[in-house]
């Protein structure tokens, strides 16, 4: 898939675990895991907004076209 999710890198930079993020953005750990491993087919704006808010980043930092 040309669009990849860089959630793992962002979490690593912020010394945060997926469980911490799941609790803060109110998304299940299972769904965040699907997103992190690139198995998700689409991402809602509300999800993107919540992740960007908690990780203090831009959507472009989370997604990359390769």
């Amino acid at each position: 898939m040309p669009v990849t999710v860089k959630l793992d890198d962002l979490l690593h930079e912020r010394h945060m675990t997926l469980t911490d993020l799941a609790a803060k953005v109110d998304i299940t750990l299972a769904n965040l895991s699907i997103l992190k491993t690139g198995k998700a087919k689409a991402i809602r704006f509300s999800t993107l907004e919540a992740i960007c808010r908690e990780l203090q980043c831009q959507p472009g930092d989370l997604l990359r076209y390769e």
Partner: protein, 163 residues
């Protein structure tokens, strides 16, 4: 609303189960009538002008085609029941249901083909293909529904995989 839907599905399932057992019981009856060549049991068309041999042939063709069609109804009913079961479990948009509908379509098409061929095997004054056209429309409708189900299933999967 949900309770009414569940009731409808439960009633449909019960009717399909009844239909299944009636069909299963009809199979040996049709076989016996075929084996004995029970010509008096055939009461369609103008049989008065036929010879004894033609009446026997008409009866045999009639019961043989009915036997095959009855045998085809059994898997149709089972597939329909499986679709109803998936709807009762609140998840009808599964890949299997598209396949089940497609199978039902092919089975009904096969049944129509048997009846069509059987009508040609009958003596000339007993030819009757009037039943084929509604059957073909039913088959087309089922194939279209199968396609709709497959598209629905694909859309459902995409929604499920949206985070």
């Amino acid at each position: 609303m949900t309770a009414k839907r569940t009731d409808l599905l439960s009633v449909t399932r019960a009717l399909l189960t009844l239909w299944f057992w009636v069909t299963v019981l009809c199979l040996p009856a049709a076989f016996i009538l075929l084996a004995t060549g029970h010509e008096q049991s055939v009461s369609f068309g103008d049989t008065a002008a036929l010879t004894a041999d033609q009446r026997l042939l008409a009866a045999r063709v009639h019961w043989a085609s009915l036997l095959v069609v009855t045998a085809l109804i059994i898997p149709v009913v089972l597939q329909m029941r499986a679709i109803v079961d998936s709807a009762r479990s609140a998840d009808p948009f599964v890949p299997e249901n598209g396949l089940r509908l497609r199978r039902i379509g092919w089975l009904i098409l096969a049944g129509n083909a048997v009846m069509f061929v059987a009508s040609f095997a009958q003596p000339p004054n007993l030819h009757d293909q009037s039943g084929s056209y509604p059957g073909l429309f039913t088959v087309l409708l089922i194939f279209v529904l199968a396609r709709i189900f497959e598209t629905g299933t694909r859309m459902r999967t995409e929604i499920q995989d949206t985070i």
